[in-house]
Amino acid sequence: MGHLSSDNRARAKAIVACYPQRRSALIPLCHLAQAQDGWLSEEAMEDIAGLVGCTPAEVRGTATFYDMLHTEPVGRHVVTVCTNIACMLAGAYEVLDHAEASLKISVGQTTEDGEFTLEEAECLAGCDNAPCVQVNHRFFGPLDADGFDALIEDLRSGRLADTVPPHGILSRVDRNVGLPARAHRLGTVAGKQSGAATGAVPE
């Protein structure tokens, strides 16, 4: 039952148990679902609503607020070009125009092969490497048109697979500090549990 896989469901329950209030786990669970599917589907949002005890409308309300949560399908790589002032002065619009031309999509669209989604962003806090680009939240830059092509080629060929996981996965290492004892029993936790963090956990 439900949209999350059984492993993810178990992890979701462990995450929920970390908080005094269930709905505090809403955003972590949205990331969990996005890690599973690459984006946040309606089915996933309904599932999350059940897990945190709110309505799907509230999950969607929260999810649509945040740019990092995608409620429409996206490519395996979400390429985000910063066009805020530092990057703009360093040639960001040239990079973005080149990206649209070379990927044959406009900002907001996904390539037909499902590899790339192109986004434009305000400041990504990578001004020291302007113009900067994020791919699945990993930083690259400074980039010009050639550098962009090389990046796309590396992503497409899998040469960057170690650095850039598929979209939705924030970290390949599950951070389990603070998860309650229940997670240990499920065998998903390797590290030691922090007693202080679990002190207030109900159940």
Binding site: Q21, P56, R60, G61, T64
Partner: protein, 918 residues
Amino acid sequence: MSKTASVHSLRTRFAVAEDLEAPAAVSVTVDGRVVEARKGELIIEAAERAGIFIPRFCYHPRMKSVGMCRMCLVEVSGPRGASLQPACFVEVADGQEVFTESDAARKAQEGVLEFLLLNHPLDCPVCDKGGECPLQDQAVSHGPGESRFVEEKRHWAKPIEIGPLVLLDRERCIQCARCTRFAEEVAGEPFIDFAERGDRIEVAIFPGEPFRSYFGGNTVQICPVGALTATPYRFKSRPWDLEQVETTCTTCSVGCRMVAQSSAGALVRYLGVDSEPVNQSWLCDRGRFGFEAVEAPERLNKPLVRSETRLVESTWNQALTAVADRILQTLDGSGPAAVGVIGGSRLANEDAYAWVRLVKGVIGTDNFDAQLGDGLPAELVASLPRATIEETVAAGTVIVLAGDLREELPVLHLRLRQAAANDGLRIIDCAPVATGLEQVATWLPYRPGEAAELARTLVATESGDRVVIVLGRPSLAEPPAEIAAAAAVFAAAWPSARFLSALRRANVHGAIDLGCAPGMLPGRVTLEEAGAFFGEHWGSVPGARGLDTAGMLAAAASGEIKMLVLLGADPLSDFPDRDLAVRALERVDFLVTVDTAPNPSSRLADVVLPAAGYAERGGSTTNLEGRVTRLAAKVMPPGVSRADWVIATELSDRLGAQLGFESLDGIWAEIEKLAPAHSGCTVEALAAPEAADGIVIPLKPSAVQLTRRPLRLDPIATPGIDSVSEQGAPLGAGAAMSPGVEPDVDVRADEDDFADDEFADEEGPGELEALEDEVSPEDVSVPVGNRRPGLVRFAPGDWTGSGSLPPVDESPFRLVVRRGLYNHGTLVQSAGSLAPLAGSQELRLSPQEMSQLGVAPGDEVRVSTPRGELVVAAVGDGGVPSGVALLQFNAVPAHETGASALIDCSVRVVGLDVEKVI
């Protein structure tokens, strides 16, 4: 904002806002005026009490502040000088100086309003809110007058349907979050929320999950712009064409105060009035949109008399003469016990009294029952120690032993839910199947038929400290005696426990109080105790206790009762045991119905008398607390329909007995004079502005705490009331009970007369302290030595139930039958907008048993009891325990077989067999 991070509890806030007598803790200066305020009070509230209006959109007195719209920015002095602060979010502090109209405040307010209008379409000429719109009004009073925004405004598809009765226009929305806060905080049904952000923000439902709330209409009422509109009112009227009266909703027995608004002689809208002790401005959708039933084309408008095989239109004279002749004939041939009257809870109090006097005093039969076998014994309801709604939500523990309150008494559900969710009220919900209170209450499931056993367990484990029991019928398939027995267990174990009746019919409590029940006479007294007293005043009373509805139907079916009068009752649809109702109505020699609209029972009648309906007659009504409030007439009854008391009076004339009733006030004066429970609750007291929220009877000897409404209601809280009152008819505290008739001041109880009455010490007539000046005692015409009888007293020993546990079940399931808000009853079905909301019939079983039976959701099953069988779709429901099956009452049109075909009202447990239809 999170649920627990409330700035302050709602309840505390209202106590603060209301309790003006208490010493002020804080003194602030608003626009140079010194204002005394309580610590914790918001600037916007303190200023309003001082008569200084600060503009606002998102602030609503019944919800938590969010500081969302910024319209209430004012200059507030602080340690670092004056700064702009939202008045709805900042609490008063001693010595604080507030400037609401300084240059800086004015500029800020104008700036906010200019921003709010950036994307607003300014389509006021085609907007329902035009003329009663806070945005419109405050754009004029606090806006810059001109916009500098020349760019394209945002566009959306509009309107979109977010719920069955509510439409959303996102272009008009100013994101004040009133609707979303209502949905979450008040209704607990957050099916709408903001989606997206910035300039793309919108109120949205989840795809495929509409705002299916019983309370959705409230979001329309409180929307400060035209973003939310209700389908039944769209494009119906302009506020300056509306007239309104304040009245009480009689859709159920909660008795919500509201205004009824009409245009061109037709009702077009109801809006909830902020009545502190009852509905706090909210209404349910069934009540709110029920005006459509009053305006329904199928309303009866002429008397009908059966000629050969069909009913033909007739005159009042012919119809009343036919009824009177038949009554005399029946009395001659078979005596008064051969006449029975079923119904009365549709009636106003005055109507009920007139009928009781006719039936019990003139015809002389005690066969009169306002309940249709779906309630509780009248003596029990009249005698239980009562609690008000206020006392219930302030109790230590509330035990609910009733049907699903969300379905039956929606606004009581709202009050309980809010108290539990926001103020931590502890609720124990005793129900065979989970109810709408599930999320905020502890659910104690009990096996149908074993309510008294559960009560015994509870009294053994609970302390019983400050307990209020909400008592109704958890299942129509469980006999009332079992619930009465459970009530007796609670009352015997916890002498301080109090009860709030959850009988749901409109004025059933008024009807019971006035004697529309076997063995009862007006004023919560028994026939046994008060027979002599009323005999003296009325001339005669029945010699023996009569039958309840089940008894009357059985007697009619066996031929002992020859004549039945249905007073706004439809036993074929509403009596739980349909088989018995059919046999009775088919067998009875003469059937009279007095009703507002035709129904399945009236089609079998020999004479049909058309009665004036809701908002077509005045009078008063009594809610489940015993609170008497006044009804107001706003529109004319259709055709030649008459008020029920007029029908009773005319009929009595034809029987040769003058009741002498000439006005509603005259009838109430007689009630006040004779009925012990109503003593002291005079016409004048009810009409006083302080009694706008009603008077709870019987009056207590101590001072009666009447709610004082604020002089001016927050005009933005419920925009539709204040603007109509300013532009059209002014809204008095209550409308006239009977326009043009001066209150009869001759009959009034003199307190001295009751000074040595055995009853006066305890629960006898008290006085309305607030009204002391207005109510001057005068001589009373009650004969000396003929003291009023005492109220019926509660004796737990009288209600024992069947005692032992039911025998081992022969069937795998026990049947539970509950009512839903939207059903196939006449009211819902004649309100065009509500009719489609009545769901289809389904059998609810636990998901485990569904799979054990090999039944997939939606599969048809054949269910059977010893009484009957029907084929119905089965649905799995986690709220149904194993061994129990739930059906909704009246879930199908009357000509189809529904749950009432399965119920045998004489057995404790209705066993049910379920088999898959192959």
